[in-house]
Amino acid sequence: MANLPPLSLHIPEPSARPGEQSGVAAVQLPEPGETRRPDTLAVEADMRDLPFGLIRVLDDQGVAVGPWIPSVSPDLLRHGLRSMMLTRIFDDRLFRAHRQGKTSFYMKSTGEEAIGAAQSMVLGGGDMCFPTYRVMSWLHARGYPLTEMVNQVFSNEKDPLKGRQLPILYSARAYGFYSLSGNVGSRFGHAVGWAMASAYKGDDKIALAYIGEGTTAEGDFHEALTFASVYHAPCILCVTNNQWAISSYSGIAGGDETTFAAKAIAYGIPGLRVDGNDFLAVWAATEWAAERARSNKGATLIELYTYRAAGHSTSDDPTKYRPADEPEAWPLGDPIERLKQHLITLREWDEDRHAMLADELDQLVRVAVKEAEAVGTLGKSKPPVSEMFEGVFKEPDWRVIEQRRELGV
């Protein structure tokens, strides 16, 4: 092996940085309808091409094409559209509330609203989702009360989580929404355990978990998939590949080397790569995986290929590290616009109704924010301080009892 050039360290770099032209538009993607749909009971060995395809249903004209067209009633489609719009309006307003000092923190899911909306509608009331902070459309689609949500964001006296948790790190058991935490990735395996418990009990509930593409690098991801594979856990494990992890592009998580869906092959489970901005594609893939899970065929990994159109959080300015026009250059468009266009194509929707709905939702959010403001915003109102000492254990021990006394609350 003489005469080889010296080794050199490869550091991945995104296609463009601020001031340059984004390369996202140039990415080669399969056409709508192109990627095949195997039977839900097919064996994994016959599906190893899927992670390198891309399940797309809506074409550029908003027409549903190909083998993955789900059968969804116009009413449900409209509910999906409404949920996505509500999510975006809510996000925008609460983001502004942060700028006004009403909360300590906020995160938007702009551009990714199809994911939680479609998946929460496909799954049943008894199923459980193990969310990330970027799938709040799950809650909006299921009708979680807006005012409660704002109360949580404002950490006020009526905060359902009693001021103990950072804004938007909700927990909503009744809505099939597991407790969030600031640590990324560490709940991915809980979904697998939860699904195993359901199978253990001979129940029919399945679990769905989310992880960001950046976070797939954590050991938790691998451990969850290993357990899901070994025990055939009835669950759907989703990677929301929105191309960015704070300032790091997906290549820093290995995205330049292969697809995230391809990680399924390491565990002998199906891996679907799905246009995450296509409500119908997300719906269809989720339905497929859910049917498989409910048939005791175990887990599916779904890569939801999407784009984080906004900054990472209120602490972030994405123009510092990526071209400012990159969100617009995203080749798979805006999930709201695309579903709207589809409904219009179906003659189940029109611009007027859309505008009216937007107004209505805006009003709903306004009212909710007003109600929560009446209770109080960050620092102006908070739950009783005694709540700080509750819930460490089921029953308080002497330490918190003494300390509560010491603090006089």
Partner: protein, 337 residues
């Protein structure tokens, strides 16, 4: 009542619980068909079925994450980590998830999991089969940690841990599995036969978490210990000639502060004994608590006898291990002051 060694007592606790509660199940590395590298789950798969006691991948983080998910569903999983040294890959799961789930979700979810793990030295296990990580757990709000010192307590505490609705770590002193051990490593091995605490009922009973046992009453000094060190303490007290009271803490969280304070208030002297290395060990917390609450009663400094501030060194096991001689010396020092 049958005599059981600690392995059998723990096995009996698991057997009783699997029999009583279909929502309990056991998993961990090698715990299924084989019955565990220390045999604690021996026969349980055969008796209760494949799904009640099964092998897990070599992934401590995955084991605890899975257990938490099961707990959130409504089960009461019992996970084994093969050696306490190997809990570290799962520490984030224990701290950031198990310990915090109830608090952060305002009680919507919780993790009623039990994590059993053999810990401690005395078996020539070298650096990574001998460590005592209890101080780390003690510092984590939301975790309970239990450390039995004899078969009766082992069964009763394990049953209490399983039935507890909070995450509980049960550290099993592996050196005590087959017999008591007082640190006199050059003497013939003892078994649990004939030891009163090895008389263990077949059926269900619990030993409550958070209650220390007064193993020996005494007037001149108080010795605080847990796990293997309870036996070392007995021998060390004898060797010292000091009339010391010996408390077996049994659980470090919740901690039986009342019994500790009452004893030191009475005796005025205190020596703390643990296997873990001294600096930053749980002895520091105990020393601070005693000093804060019994300051005016103290006749001499609270002392700590513990492992040295080195990794656990294979060939120097008995130079490292805090034996009865070191405790006796500390007790005598306490009396001199």
């Amino acid at each position: 009542m049958p005599t059981m060694n600690m392995i059998r007592a723990l096995n009996s606790a698991l057997d009783v619980k699997l029999g009583q509660d279909p929502d309990t199940l056991i998993f961990g590395q090698d715990v299924g068909y084989f019955g565990g590298v220390f045999r604690v789950t021996d026969g349980l798969q055969k008796k209760h079925g494949l799904k009640r006691c099964f092998d897990a991948p070599i992934s401590e983080g995955g084991i605890i994450a899975t257990a938490i998910g099961m707990g959130a569903f409504g089960l009461r999983p019992i996970a084994e980590i093969q050696f306490a040294d190997y809990i570290l890959p799962a520490l984030d799961q224990l701290v950031s998830e198990a310990a915090r789930l109830r608090y952060r979700s305002n009680g919507e979810f919780w993790a009623p999991i039990t994590v059993r793990s053999p810990y401690g030295g005395g078996i020539f296990g070298g650096q990574t089969h001998s460590q005592s990580p209890e101080a780390i757990f003690a510092h984590i709000t939301g975790l309970k940690t239990v450390i039995p010192s004899n078969p009766y307590d082992a069964k009763g505490l394990l049953l209490a841990a399983i039935e507890d609705d909070d995450p509980v770590i049960v550290l099993e002193p592996k050196r005590l599995y087959n017999g008591p051990f007082d640190g006199r490593h050059d003497q013939t091995l003892e078994t649990w036969a004939g030891v009163p605490e090895a008389e263990v009922p077949e059926g269900h009973y619990t030993v409550p978490l958070g209650k220390a046992a007064v193993v020996r009453e005494g007037r001149q000094a108080t010795v605080l210990a847990y796990g293997t060190m309870v036996h070392v303490a007995k021998a060390g007290i004898e060797e010292s000639g000091v009339d010391a009271e010996l408390l077996d803490l049994r659980s470090i969280v919740p901690l039986d502060i009342e019994t500790i304070v009452a004893s030191v208030t009475k005796t005025g002297r205190c020596v703390i004994l643990h296997e873990a290395s001294r600096f930053g060990g749980f002895g520091g917390e105990l020393s601070a608590l005693v000093q804060e609450r019994c300051f005016w009663a103290l006749k001499s400094p609270v002392q700590r006898v513990a492992g040295w501030d080195t990794p656990y060194p294979h060939a120097f096991e008995w130079d490292y291990f805090p034996g009865p001689g070191r405790l006796a010396a500390a007790l005598r020092r306490a009396m001199e002051d």
